[in-house]
């Protein structure tokens, strides 16, 4: 399985996936009001991410792009360490990935990274490989959830530093 790479698209992530205009014209994080109806947790807790970005949507998008830039490398390192059966290295990388996922409120990734860290801590490396697949799965969902939707280009041109 390969790591999905969204950075080729300069419009990723679509900030409209982070905030929505509500009926009163106010801006609020997406995914919050819908949480009660949602069967699956959204890949990103947008409320948490935006709080940690002090409400700055453009900054949140930049942070997500930086996260996307690091993610592939982290997965490669995980695989290499797993091949070397270096449990210490697997735990260390998983711990780091857990931290960065938590920072961007990628809740699913954070949970899987924690599982990998815990498995490596007790040297159960045989179970790590399937978790890496889950990680990639969750990553693809995250990428898709932030993908620009139709008609985004005009919106992006309105933003002063839209990327």
């Amino acid at each position: 399985m390969s790591v999905e790479q969204p950075l080729d698209n300069p419009a990723w992530p679509d900030v409209r996936r982070l905030v929505a205009i509500d009926a009163e014209g106010g801006v609020r994080p997406t995914g919050i009001s819908s949480r009660s109806e949602a069967v699956v947790e959204p890949p990103i807790d947008t409320e948490g991410l935006l709080r940690r970005c002090m409400g700055n949507v453009d900054f949140a998008a930049r942070v997500l792009r930086r996260f996307a830039g690091q993610f592939g490398g982290d997965v490669d390192q995980l695989r290499t360490s797993l091949n070397d059966t270096d449990a210490g290295a697997v735990a260390r990388i998983a711990h780091r990935l857990k931290g960065t996922s938590a920072n961007v409120s990628a809740v699913r990734l954070q949970a899987i990274a924690k599982e990998i860290e815990d498995l490596a801590a007790v040297e159960k490396l045989s179970q790590v490989s399937s978790r890496i697949d889950e990680l990639l799965d969750a990553w693809s969902q995250l990428v898709a959830s932030m993908a620009p939707s139709e008609g985004q280009s005009a919106f992006h041109q309105l933003r002063p530093n839209g990327k």
């Binding site: 709080r51 942070v63 996260f67 690091q70 960065t100 961007v104």
Partner: protein
């Protein structure tokens, strides 16, 4: 010099240390939004280089970093030990008492769980700032009080009694409707801390006058009276540069106006009534009571009863009538302090008239 001091007091500097670029960027953004002056370091070694400049007193560091961990950084900071305190907040995803104990024994002051919450970060930093400001306040007051003491020719317990009298009067006044909004616990703490600085301006009075035995002539008296304005202006300069340091403003008011009289016949400005800051009105009575009840070369020690009569005589002329009333309500406590802190004043071999014989209109 004033300019550089102003720069220092402008924004609070925070040093943020994290090996992860993403965390670093998010912390930096948060702190910039919070009005802090932020410097980032990517590892413990780089952080220590910043710490050694002596310009950072608030540090937010990741716990787990390659080479030098947050714990090692804490230990290195504490090993320096000789300069102003550095407040360290460790970011950690580790929960549990063992880790907290490990962090605390390495010298961390506070912990913040990852992922950080901006509001929680701000609260923790404010606690750190408060602790640092109290530290610098106490150092400043201690230094100034030592300086004041060096020119205080009474034995050392004069300043001790003075601050006790000021506290007692403030507590008594706090119970009155007229003053309860102005006098709270902080006011009482601050007047206790700053009242010993009332005569700090005596550092600017030449020895030939300050140390002269016996009576002073008019010119010498005029020189000695300058101590109020000298102390007031000096502390005012400091208070202007540090507008948030309320203790400096209080110390300034006390030093400048503790020889003013309620009827406007005091010095240096001839302020009257409630134009005289409340703190200075309180110190005025405390200072005079102590001068009266202690022996000086030019006068014997008056009894409490005799001193009390003189103070009552000054009600509304020399002293604020409300403060005289408060004094009469708690005079037993004055007597207690005097007995407890009545040092061997006969050790005083010379005295000046800087605390003039009271009751006399000066």
């Amino acid at each position: 010099m004033v300019n550089s001091m102003q720069n220092l007091s402008h924004k609070t500097r925070v040093l943020v240390v994290d090996d992860d670029e993403l965390s670093l960027e998010m912390l930096e953004n948060t702190l910039l939004q919070g009005g802090y002056d932020v410097t980032v370091a990517h590892n413990g070694r780089e952080a220590m280089e910043y710490v050694r400049t002596g310009q950072f007193h608030l540090v937010v560091s990741d716990w787990e970093m390659p080479e030098m961990s947050g714990l090692d950084l804490c230990r290195s900071i504490r090993e320096r030990g000789r300069s102003r305190y550095i407040y360290v907040i460790l970011l950690t995803s580790r929960a549990g008492t063992n880790n907290v104990v490990e962090g605390l024994s390495a010298g961390a002051d506070e912990f913040l769980t990852k992922p950080f919450d901006p509001q929680e970060l701000f609260v923790r930093l404010r606690v750190g700032e408060r602790i640092l400001s109290l530290e610098s306040r106490d150092i400043t007051i201690f230094t100034l009080a030592k300086l004041a003491e060096s020119r205080d020719l009474e034995t050392g317990t004069h300043l001790e009694r003075m601050r006790e009298y000021c506290r007692i009067l403030s507590e008594q006044l706090a119970g009155k409707a007229k003053f309860k909004h102005e006098i709270d616990g902080e006011f009482i703490d601050l007047i206790y801390l700053t009242s010993p600085l009332h005569d700090i301006g005596k550092v600017g009075v030449p020895d030939r006058v300050l140390l002269k035995p016996g009576r002073l002539d008019d010119e010498e008296m005029a020189i000695i009276r300058q101590h109020a304005a000298i102390g007031g202006r000096t502390l005012d300069a400091a208070a202007t540069v540090h507008p948030d340091a309320d203790y400096l403003q209080m110390a300034r008011d006390i030093a400048w106006f503790h020889h003013e009289r309620f009827d406007g016949k005091g010095y240096p400005k001839g302020l009257s009534g409630e134009d005289i800051p409340l703190t200075a009105r309180i110190v005025a009575l405390a200072d005079v009571y102590d001068a009266l009840t202690m022996q000086r070369v030019y006068k014997p020690a008056f009894s409490h009863e005799a001193s009390r009569e003189i103070i009552i005589e000054g009600r509304g002329t020399q002293f604020d009538p409300d403060i005289v009333d408060a004094f009469l309500e708690c005079e037993d406590r004055f007597v207690d302090v005097r007995q407890r802190l009545d040092s061997d004043e006969s050790a005083t071999t010379f005295a000046t008239l800087c605390d003039e014989p009271v009751g006399s209109a000066s």
